[in-house]
């Protein structure tokens, strides 16, 4: 191990005016230079740009620096960049530490520049303290399984699968329903060119079905995923179709004899299908299935299938296991069914339908043979009104814009006009018409040119004439400034695109996160829009946010390329931030312990009787839960050791500790939420001194005790939401159990209840974090420094005693 004395270089970034506009960068740099072991300090305009990185490399060489601290943005942004910079200058990348003074200071405290600078100094001091204790680590190499799993066979997933297959990788395409195709297979034409949807998607579906590198696993559900980048183990459950797929030729003779019909969900329940059938003619794979809920078991199908013997009523669900190196999530969206909105009368008024139902109506191959007719009387409507933003852009329902509904309303308006000409009057009630991409605005003009009437104003409610079943739409025509009652014989609701109902389950299985709206969250909204926070798992298409077909296709291909960066390698490097048992300290040799093995969320610790426990490094995800759980302090988490965190606590609380909040924030949720508060420029009082841990499960009781021993005003642990949001499955639950026991003890010792808090903040809850900071600052103010000091003074001797036992041991274990 390197025993040489630390020589630390600190680089303070202006980030243009993002940091320098608030923080006195010169003062901060001078301050950094004055810290012990700091041999070099300099400020740059943009540290992450080439000249900035050059400067770091040069300084490492010229000043023989053996530790580097960059005070700039969040480590969630540029830690990998600067680690690489260090490596390029032959410095072990784990000798790098980042001080987050942008998201955590300049961006969130713009109106108090002095306090922001003061906070930045302390954040730098904390980083320097940690840097002093850093150890070099070697990246761990793992083998890569060169196969991929694509979840969801919509147009996005189809493109991912085809691209990967063409690159030569084996792809499993998992589809929940009986056929791939997704929403696109349900549509009539597609904007802005009006190609027939299934005519352009169908051939791609067939290509998928035929490709030797693609295996479609349809009518199946994802059960579990374990492992890590390059080495995922996937469990899938295939639902029984009661058909032996290999024997089924897709001839459909069975369907012809089946006497039973039921509503076809794929046809938005507007058409019917047989108890033995395929959802639509172009289904891929073209394998029939029997719906036992409707089947009367007359066995006529068995007879008609005859010698092919494809029907098997005894089929059971089947579980299969796959090994893959990368996963692409392309599960798409659902449309909002506005049954819960009495104002539009959907479900109550016959002639109010959703846009997806309209697509099925106007489609030549649809249930009405392409005739647009009213459910109430089967007659063609002479006036049709499209209502935009149903459920979208509404704080009571879905806040966001669903993106493609303006365009598909234009499409359907144009189709109606082209089909029925002046025989039909078409209205579109809209608030803003969103037509930004290639060919889209031209499409809008085409609709106007055809005589579609656009009314700027949100439809507020609809009234039905009980006799004629005609509709009366209430709105304000904003351009005239008058309320209007618009008569229409049919109303089409362009409803919001919403997250799939099972998106939460999927997020849990994959340990990926969802944004405030419930869509899957990307690693970075601008620079990593396809990655998820989990290495090796990518997103594509409308499951990340509503996207139209061109956008979904592009992202599908993008995800394939991202996955290929992993699949194309034999080995993949993973972060060595793992746990390690110090065998001499482990008490499992003497007593039956094994607590760590029990608490590890991944089962990656072996604790065989009479032997010291052992971490299986490749399986360790580096949450550090076992480290905090071990009663003998026998486990360390590399790069997040007890000493390092104790050192950060010490520096954070050197000055005016009773006025401060010591934060222990988990990297994936609360730290990211705090970052978002900064990115969103939510201002809050600058009292928190945050320490990043990978998982809240890493937070040792001793950290909390140490913080109070050093006089902290408040201590807050920031974790992912219970019960399932934890990036490491259950680290937050372990932390909670630990802290639930600690809190009453601290209260008994005289600590005011609000001073120790466990808070759950997701990566999407920047606002919540800022509000929390404000609220805590108020509480701190209410308590007042005197009361806090008095409580701490009372507490100190007890904490001294509690921690004294451990301190010498800790010193030892760092050797």
């Amino acid at each position: 191990m390197t025993e040489e004395k630390p020589r630390i270089g600190v680089f303070v970034c202006h980030c243009g005016l993002n940091i320098a506009g608030v923080i006195d960068v010169k003062d901060l740099t001078d301050y950094a230079r004055s810290l012990p072991d700091v041999f070099f300090a300099k400020d740059n305009r943009y540290t992450c740009a080439d000249p900035g990185q050059d400067e770091i490399r040069k300084a490492i060489k010229e000043n023989k620096l053996n530790r580097v601290v960059v005070a700039a943005c969040s480590p969630r942004m540029h830690e990998p960049t600067f680690r690489k910079t260090c490596a390029e200058a032959d410095l072990n990348p784990f000798f790098f530490e980042m001080a987050n003074i942008r998201e955590f200071s300049s961006w969130c405290h713009p109106s108090t520049p002095e306090e922001a600078t003061e906070k930045a100094k302390e954040i730098v001091r904390m980083a320097v303290a940690k840097a002093r204790l850093l150890q070099p680590l070697k990246e761990i190499e793992v083998p890569v399984t060169n196969k991929a799993l694509v979840i969801g066979g919509g147009i996005a997933g189809i493109n991912s699968a085809l691209d990967l297959a063409e690159m030569g990788f084996k792809v499993y395409l998992l589809e929940k329903t009986e056929s791939i195709g997704g929403h696109m297979a349900q549509l009539d034409k597609t904007f802005p060119t009006l190609d027939c949807s299934i005519c352009i998607e169908g051939p791609k579906m067939v290509d998928v079905g035929r490709h030797s590198n693609i295996e479609i696993i349809s009518y199946a559900d994802l059960i579990s995923v374990s492992g890590y980048v390059g080495n995922f183990k996937v469990k899938i459950k295939k639902k029984p179709r009661y058909i032996i797929a290999d024997n089924c030729t897709g001839c459909g003779e069975c369907r012809d004899v089946c006497p039973i019909e039921y509503p076809n969900e794929w046809d938005v329940n507007m058409g019917v299908r047989k108890a033995i059938s395929v959802p639509f003619e172009q289904a891929v794979p073209l394998v029939y299935s029997i719906n036992l809920d409707h089947c009367i078991e007359c066995y006529k199908c068995v007879d008609s299938c005859g010698a092919r013997q494809a029907i098997n009523f005894d089929q059971e669900p089947e579980e299969i296991e796959l090994d893959v190196g990368a996963i692409i999530v392309a599960t798409g969206f659902d449309i909002y069914m506005p049954y819960d909105d009495p104002l539009y009368g959907y479900g109550k008024y016959d002639n109010v339908i959703t846009a997806l139902e309209f697509e099925r109506l106007i489609l030549a191959a649809g249930p009405t043979g392409g005739k647009v007719i009213r459910a109430s009387d089967g007659k063609k409507p002479h006036s049709v009104a499209f209502i935009q933003c149903v459920g979208s852009r509404n704080l009571k329902k879905y806040e966001y814009c669903s993106g493609f509904c303006c365009m598909y309303a234009l499409k359907n308006a144009i189709l109606l006009k082209e089909k029925y000409k002046e025989d039909v009057e078409v209205y579109v009630l809209y608030m803003d018409m969103r037509t930004p991409f290639k060919g889209y605005e031209e499409f809008y003009r085409r609709a106007r040119d055809l005589g579609v009437t656009f009314i700027r104003g949100r439809a507020s409610h609809i009234i039905e004439d009980s006799q004629t079943k005609n509709l009366n739409i209430r709105a304000e025509d904003m351009t005239l400034g008058q309320p209007i009652e618009l008569p229409a014989e049919m109303v089409v609701l362009c409803t919001a695109a919403v997250p799939k109902t099972d998106a939460g389950d999927l997020a849990r299985i994959l340990s990926i996160s969802r944004d405030a709206n419930g869509f899957f969250m990307e690693s970075h909204p601008k620079l990593k829009p396809i990655d998820t926070p989990v290495d090796g798992i990518f997103v594509a298409g409308a499951c990340q946010a509503p996207k139209d077909i061109p956008y979904s296709v592009s992202q599908g291909s993008g995800a394939a390329a991202r996955a290929a960066t992993i699949l194309s390698k034999d080995k993949w490097k993973i972060e060595p931030i793992v746990a390690e048992v110090t065998p001499e300290l482990c008490r499992n040799t003497r007593v039956k312990c094994g607590i760590c093995a029990d608490r590890c969320p991944y089962g990656s610790i072996e604790a065989i009787e009479n032997q010291p426990a052992k971490v299986v490094t490749a399986m360790c995800h580096g949450c550090g839960t076992c480290v905090a759980e071990c009663p003998a302090d026998a486990i360390i988490q590399k790069h997040f050791t007890d000493e390092q965190i104790f050192a950060q606590i010490e520096e954070a609380l050197k000055k005016n500790p009773e006025g401060k909040i010591l934060g222990l924030l988990c990297n994936w949720c609360c730290y990211a939420g705090a970052d978002l508060a900064g990115t969103s420029r939510f201002e809050y009082p600058p009292l928190i001194r945050p320490i990043r841990v990978m998982c809240s499960g890493r937070v040792d009781r001793d950290f909390v005790l140490e913080a109070f021993r050093r006089g902290a005003g408040m201590v807050m642990i920031g974790a992912c939401h219970l019960p399932y949001d934890c990036h490491y499955i259950s680290g937050n639950l372990r932390m909670k159990a630990r802290m639930d026991a600690l809190a009453p003890m601290l209260e008994k010792l005289g600590l005011s209840p609000h001073r120790f808090r466990v808070e759950y903040v997701s990566a999407a809850e920047g606002l919540k974090y800022a509000e929390l900071m404000k609220e805590m600052a108020e509480k701190l103010d209410e308590l007042g420094p005197e009361k806090i000091k008095a409580e701490n003074a009372k507490l100190k001797p007890i904490l001294d005693r509690m921690l004294a036992k451990k301190r010498p041991q800790k010193a030892q274990s760092s050797k």
């Binding site: 909105d341 009495p342 104002l343 009234i463």
Partner: protein
Amino acid sequence: MTAPEKNAKTTPKPTRFLLFLGCAIPYRVSSYEISTRKVLQQLGIELVEMPEYNCCGLPIDPVNHSMTLTLAARNLCLAEQQGLSIIALCPGCAGTLRKVNKKLKENKELKEEINGYLKATGLEFKGTIEAKHVLQLLVEDVGLEKIKASVKTPLTRLKVSEHAGCHVTRPADSVDFENPEDPQALKDLVEATGAEYVEYVDKLACCGAPIAGVNDRIPLQLTKEKLTHIRNAGAHAMVTVCPFCHMMFDTNQPRIERLFNETLRIPVLHYPQLLGLAMGFSPEELALKALRVDATQIVSRISGKEDAS
């Protein structure tokens, strides 16, 4: 009686309340008060007179919001002193008291501000009681089962519409009762009497009463439109639970007929009158005479059925 007993086992509901009459009811709608007292007594609700109360505050909200909050808060304080929750017959009063009660409980700063004003009268808002409209009392505290059980003569031959009034549910956020876009309470209560409930176009629309005095034409037009829809839907009668709505639909009905040359003749009962009839009270006991639009036809409709049976 088995159903209410079962309910009673879970959580004993309070049965004593302070009656908040407000300004309009004693001024000109005693029939609402009389019938409500009768019906509630029969249902085992004890009403205690509210001492020294004042206007709920709503009428002068356009002038000074602080005064409105303070007037409402004073009433709440008086109730707190009695340790009883408030029942108001006017949805405007109920809504205002509920809203202020909620806002002051939630918003510390606002509470301090209002308590500052109240200090001069030696009162302090603490937030220990609730306030509700009688409709909410009927569905939540008495319960539909008990109401159904109290019906002696189900009004099965009667088709009844309603206009509940905006403030029973709006603004949803602060009144916090039921979904204002799909309210059920009054519908359920009408059906509990055995009457047939009649839906009509624009049922949720306001009658406009609050601006009568600033502008009379618009409220009259609004009410006319609603009455016409109710007539066209085939209702024999309608019910309200608000003194102001009642004034628009009942008191002003002859005027509307004259002004718009329409024949409406729709009796407008206070809901407790309807329930009272079903419970077997006489029209006199329920002050049916006080209604402007003659209600004898519906009384004979009900009794006509009695004769037949």
